[in-house]
Amino acid sequence: MTSLEPNPATGIGNTPADIDSVGQSVVASLKDIRKTYYMGALAVEVLHGISLDFYEGEYVSIMGPSGCGKSTLMNILGCLDKPTEGTYYLGGEDTSEMDDDELSTIRGARLGFIFQSYNLIQQLNVLENIEMPLFYQGYSEQDCHEIAMGLVERVGLDDRIDHKPFELSGGQQQRVAIARALAVDPLIILADEPTGNLDTKSGAEILDLFDELNQQGKTLIMITHSDELAERSPRWVRMLDGKVESDDRRNS
């Protein structure tokens, strides 16, 4: 079967386990993830065994009240943090075995981050901010430039390429951040409260852009505390006290 053929570009299909019963390929798989923080002698378990699979082309919202562990989960999904227990497969690779350098590489190559506070680098202009992940992946200067130019056009900021982040509105900054997240063509785009700092109108624009990206086949995972936003997406995972409370799909 063709489905078992490994795809070296994405790592998808490297193991049969990546293919679920429905036939959609799994891009990220969390298996019984636990995370314990140690504060001196005190050990606090924040995640109590989370198992989730994310599929190619999915748009998933993860929601829950603050303190439910969704940020911790996000950090683990983003390979910024390692689980205390459990395994996390990203594109068929087991990240729990990776060292710091490999994690850096996988972050840069497989993941795109969108933050609540945009997190653009203030000294760099729009184009340079978008080029940055490409640069760390070792793309040539010319490729960096071409890709970044394409993306800046796509998010509608091609007249602002020389602007510094502080010269842009919040919505524009977030669009730069989205362009930056798309630069390396990641397996998953992780968005942490992407509209949290935006007014309703800019927020809606960003969410429209997310819908558009998802329609083009991008896999999106968005963290939010708003039910309204979560229910916009076809699948939403509700978390409570470090556990998955519900995992629903909209039947379209």
Binding site: G78, D81, D101, S104, G108, F113, I121, S140, E141, K218
Partner: protein, 453 residues
């Protein structure tokens, strides 16, 4: 179940072949990181300037101090070299005990007899091999006259090769000849100083000056001795290097005699000195110090009192070189400390920069920067700061000695080693003091760094 579902809907864009890309773009990467460093230095203009200033001062101080001490030691060595590295200088010194005894007692003042004798010189010349020449001189203090002008000066009765033995040059005219020496001729060579004092307008050549009751024909003018404390012992004259004129040894002996009289507060003082100074030239520079020791032994045997002094310019030169080295080490150490302080300044600023840019570090880490990328970034920044400081410091360090020379007339020598050394040290300081802050930046937890406000 179709291929369409299994195939990733998003086609990977020209994902470069890692292995090839890594090597090929290392330079581009380096260039980019450097640009980032320059940008961040630029965006903190004043802070960077102050940091650089520490290094500038350190580097400039190293170069300037070394140049000044190098110049001073060169000057000192030049003075000793002028005395002749192959020479041993002897001079007569009035012994303290003799002076006391002569002042006591009654009757007509008795002549004090002391100092080097012709016999000493002959013995030295005949008993030590390797001595090429001995130039003995008598120095008598006299008033010399030309028309209404007079001057008190040392009249040096000496040999024909005196100027060559001391590396002195004649400005005009000539020194006296063997014939004039044999004839006890009344000829004189003036030093610059005396010539200017007695003949402010005229060219003294061919004119004559008067000493006591005799007239001497001026045949040459010699440059003033800029360094000599030899032969100043005539009648206990001051330590200041006296102006000198030169007449043949034979003339000095027959005109002035060996006993000179001096008016003192208590009456007359007479002293008999055969030779006031002698220059002993040695063939081989290597044996100068050895010959000096033998001469000392010979003189010690021949003289009851220590009524002579021996000076070996080469030995003094060695001493000067040693003390010059010591000076340079001290100067270098002081300047080195200021460089160190500059380096600590860099470390301080880099630590501040790392803290201030914690968020940026977090972002870069999240977007795929490895620890080593972060280290490189901050290290390059530190090195740029110190290298810029180094370059400005080198320019200043070379300029300052010129200014010192121009305004204070001090000899300064900038050796090519000094700027090179100072610059390399400054670059090294950038690395050494940049490493710790860079490591701290790289070791930050990305999650923590991203949360940093």
């Amino acid at each position: 179940m179709t291929d369409a579902i299994l195939e990733p809907t998003v086609q990977p864009r020209r994902r470069p072949d890692r292995s090839k890309v890594r090597v090929g773009n290392r330079l581009v990467r380096f260039k980019k990181i450097t640009q980032v460093g320059i940008k961040s230095i630029y965006s903190h203009g004043l802070r960077s300037l102050l940091t650089v200033l520490g290094i500038v001062i350190g580097v400039a101080a190293v170069i300037a101090m070394l140049a000044v001490s190098e110049g001073a030691s060169f000057e000192a060595q030049q003075q000793f070299r002028d005395l002749g590295a192959n020479n041993i200088l002897l001079k007569s010194v009035k012994p303290a005990e003799v002076e006391e005894s002569s002042n006591r007692g009654f009757g007509p003042p008795q002549a004090i007899v002391y100092g080097l004798t012709l016999a000493d010189v002959e013995t030295i010349r005949n008993s030590i091999p390797g001595i090429s020449n001995v130039i003995a001189s008598r120095i008598v203090k006299k008033n010399v006259w030309h028309l209404g002008r007079s001057m008190n000066t040392d009249v040096v009765g000496t040999a024909v090769d005196y100027p060559t033995s001391r590396n002195y040059n004649l400005r005009s005219g000539r020194f006296f000849s063997e014939t004039e020496m044999r004839d006890h001729a009344n000829v004189v060579v003036l030093s610059d100083e005396v010539a200017n004092a007695l003949f402010p307008i005229d060219n003294p050549l061919g004119l004559s000056i008067k000493i006591d009751s005799d007239y001497y024909n001026v045949i040459g003018i010699m440059e003033s001795e800029d360094f000599s404390n030899l032969g100043q012992n005539q009648a206990g004259s001051s330590n200041a290097a006296p102006s000198r004129i030169y007449i043949p040894f034979t003339s000095s002996k027959s005109r002035f005699g060996e006993t000179t009289t001096r008016q003192t507060a208590g009456g007359m003082e007479r002293e008999t000195v055969q030779l006031h100074e002698a220059i002993i030239q040695v063939d081989n520079q290597e044996s100068v110090i050895e010959v000096g020791e033998i001469i000392e032994q010979i003189l010690a045997r021949r003289h009851k009192d220590i009524d002579y002094a021996i000076e070996i310019p080469l030995a003094l030169l060695r001493q000067a070189e040693e003390s010059a080295l010591r000076d340079q080490i001290v100067a270098g150490a002081i300047a080195g400390i200021s460089l160190l302080v500059g380096g600590i300044g860099i470390m301080n600023i880099m630590l501040a920069s790392v803290t201030e840019r914690t968020r940026e570090i977090g972002i870069r880490r999240a977007l795929g920067a490895k620890k080593r990328d972060i280290i490189t970034q901050f290290l390059i920044e530190a090195v740029i700061l110190s290298a810029v400081g180094g370059v400005i410091g080198v320019v200043l360090g070379i300029a300052i000695p010129f200014v010192i020379s121009a305004f204070w007339g001090m000899t300064t020598i900038v050796t090519p080693v000094a700027p090179l050394l100072a610059f390399s040290i400054s670059a090294l300081i950038g690395v050494v003091f940049g490493i710790y802050p860079s490591m701290r930046a790289a070791d930050m937890d990305p999650v923590e760094a991203l949360r940093h406000e």
